[in-house]
Point group: C2
Chain length 218, copies 2
């Protein structure tokens, strides 16, 4: 069995900052499509994915464990019992691919981190899960680097834009349309999203099933 990959997930009312372009059921479907892409990437890198969900939901890609507590509490509870190597990777990284995940596993360090945009932590590898405790929210990247240092753990930052790009807002969908290769890009394309280039700036537009354009804001 490869490295355990914990993927925290919130199935209900996810990705609220995409409300301007996706309806509530679409946001749920889109979040699951992104989860599928992340599961595919970690499987491709030889990991054993394990979704840690705040609530039950239908998902066939890998085992799902329901832990209805907060992100840090849920993850630290699971990590405390894990003496082997663990990857914790966010579910909203639809550009994740197996080579990027492999680079994270192969640094030889006790801890390897890929920061998210704005100081978050998108993926963190721990050579021994129980040696660490996670502290998400705010500038969690800096907190995780500090926790590693305080515990005497060697730590490397892995330089990947695929794992750095978390999808939260409309402009992030541009990245997915350009660089995505999986089911979440497919989801957007089937819903009529495409790139729109306006005065040199790249954005998105949504074309109705019948081919008629409508503005992407409500």
């Amino acid at each position: 069995m490869g490295v355990q990959a914990l993927i925290p997930f919130k199935p209900e009312n996810p990705k609220t900052r995409l409300s301007c372009v996706l309806s509530p059921p679409e946001r749920e479907q889109f979040a699951r499509a992104m989860l599928s892409d992340v599961v595919g990437a970690v499987l491709g890198a030889g990991c054993s994915p394990r979704v840690i969900s705040t609530a039950p939901f239908g998902f066939a890609g890998c085992p799902v464990e329901v832990i209805p507590s907060g992100l840090n509490e849920a993850l630290n509870g699971v990590l405390s019992g894990m003496d082997g190597p663990v990857l914790v990777i966010m579910a909203d990284l639809p550009l994740a691919d197996a080579p990027a995940v492999r680079r994270l596993l192969e640094t030889g360090m006790d801890v390897a981190i890929v920061p998210g945009r704005g100081g978050g932590t998108n993926a963190i590898y721990l050579s021994r899960g129980s040696s660490f405790r996670v502290d998400y929210y705010g500038a969690s990247f800096l907190k995780h680097v500090r926790i590693a240092r305080e515990r005497g753990l060697s730590c490397e930052v892995v330089d990947s834009f695929r794992l750095h790009t978390d999808v939260d807002e409309e402009e992030d969908l541009v990245e997915l349309l350009i660089h995505g290769e999986g089911s979440s890009r497919q989801f957007l394309v089937e819903r009529g999203f495409e790139l729109a280039i306006d005065r040199g700036r790249v954005g998105i537009k949504r074309v109705q099933a019948g081919g008629r354009e409508h503005p992407e804001s409500p």
Copy 2:
């Protein structure tokens, strides 16, 4: 002599989208500090940097050539005479480091690209400069991939957030304060910029020389 690294630069009124946080002379100084960081990264990777500037300016880090035409015209004019390997790298990538540049040089492909956020091209390596023509602006990443395909050139996308992160707007300064290691981060710190965490979101604030805070917008 290593790979020639062309670095286009505009010394006058640069980085206008940072006007809300930096005065005009500060924007000029900051743009030059970012250029210094990029020059340092390409030197560290064994390249020979060569700044292609729209106008003369004082810079001691490497040779500067003044070509007052548009970006594409200037670069394609230079590239057409270059039969060796060339790197074209933007001047606003202050997180650039030697390992990331080296990965770009070592793919073994005819062309290697690091996309910028929003479909741009932040760095492009060409095993033979004259085999290619650049086409910046808009979704230049997609254009460059297509140009490579049309010319029968092998092409790889290099996965680096350090080279993916171009600094254009206030929120990009967060990335520089967190991940920067060079003179442009130093510039910001000396001007009183620091991270500000407000309700879980990470931003920046500016503290006056005397220690008094003032809002970062005019």
